[in-house]
């Protein structure tokens, strides 16, 4: 099967390691094309011999089995980034410090949010208010929902 490649702008190269890490951890339903069963990746070109202060490689591309698969991954990453940004730019001011430690469910499509004691409580509030869209959870006062302290493989 022919692979689809989509160039990444050199100005976005610095974000590639983090983006690749997040892609690798995405649930299979988001990372793997539902039509062709292949995963979407980012592939960097050969390392440049004289990097100087510039970019480390000449090119980098999104790669996948079809445009739809690449679009799907890019969309979900964009929505997650937007949810985090919505929290940082708007919700942190509204929710901190009163709701520190509680869970906020942000509807990815609309940016609407619901606060609860945990994911289930926040999701119940979203559904009760008629929101059917995908939810992304963050803990109020934190850039993530949970933290695992004990190292486990």
């Amino acid at each position: 099967m022919t692979r689809v490649r989509r160039p990444i702008a050199s100005s976005d190269f610095t974000a590639i390691p983090r983006t690749k890490q997040i892609i690798e951890t995405l649930p299979d339903m988001l990372r793997i094309c539902p039509r062709h069963g292949e995963e979407v990746t980012i592939r960097e070109g050969e390392l440049l011999p004289k990097q100087g202060g510039g970019v480390p490689f000449a090119e980098a591309n999104w790669e996948g089995c079809c445009d739809g698969a690449i679009d799907g991954v890019m969309e979900i990453l964009g929505l997650i980034d937007r949810a985090k940004q919505t929290y940082r730019d708007e919700l942190a001011r509204e929710l901190e410090p009163e709701h520190i430690g509680e869970m906020v469910a942000i509807e990815l499509d609309t940016g609407d949010y619901f606060v609860g004691a945990d994911e289930i409580d926040a999701a119940d509030k979203a559904r009760a208010a008629g929101h059917e869209g995908s939810l992304y959870f963050l803990r109020v006062g934190s850039p993530y929902a949970h933290r695992m302290v004990t190292p486990r493989q």
Partner: protein, 119 residues
């Protein structure tokens, strides 16, 4: 009402948890602030309800995006709904501190006993 556990071969506190369609041993991990995490092969056997996505930080500082589900189970004499994180990056069942919020956890390394009591 109480749950009695045991120590596994790695000297970690473990309890057996009835998850409805399957039972599994879960590590009691107070370093995890959520409800439950389950490996995919265990989660696939269960009647889980999809709730949403969330990011969490592993002990290796890796940001992981995972699916969160809910499950109903009996916990210390009550029927409760609990959040369950499932990711290919998780290969161990963990019971986090959110499950322990109304409990007393007694880990007696001397007597080799693990007890969770409703408080």
């Amino acid at each position: 009402m109480q749950i009695d556990g045991y120590f596994n071969a790695q000297n970690e506190p473990v309890i057996r948890l009835d998850l409805g369609l399957a039972s599994t041993d879960v590590l009691v991990d107070t370093g995890f602030d959520g409800g439950l995490t389950l490996p995919s092969q265990v989660a696939n056997q269960l009647d889980l309800t999809y709730v949403g996505l969330e990011g969490f930080i592993s002990a290796f500082e890796e940001t992981i995006v995972a699916k969160t589900y809910s499950i109903e189970l009996d916990w210390l004499g009550k029927r409760v709904r609990v959040s369950v994180i499932v990711s290919p990056r998780i290969n161990q069942a963990l019971l986090g501190s959110h499950m322990l919020k109304d409990c007393r956890l007694i880990i007696d390394y001397g007597e080799r006993t693990v007890t969770i009591i409703a408080s």
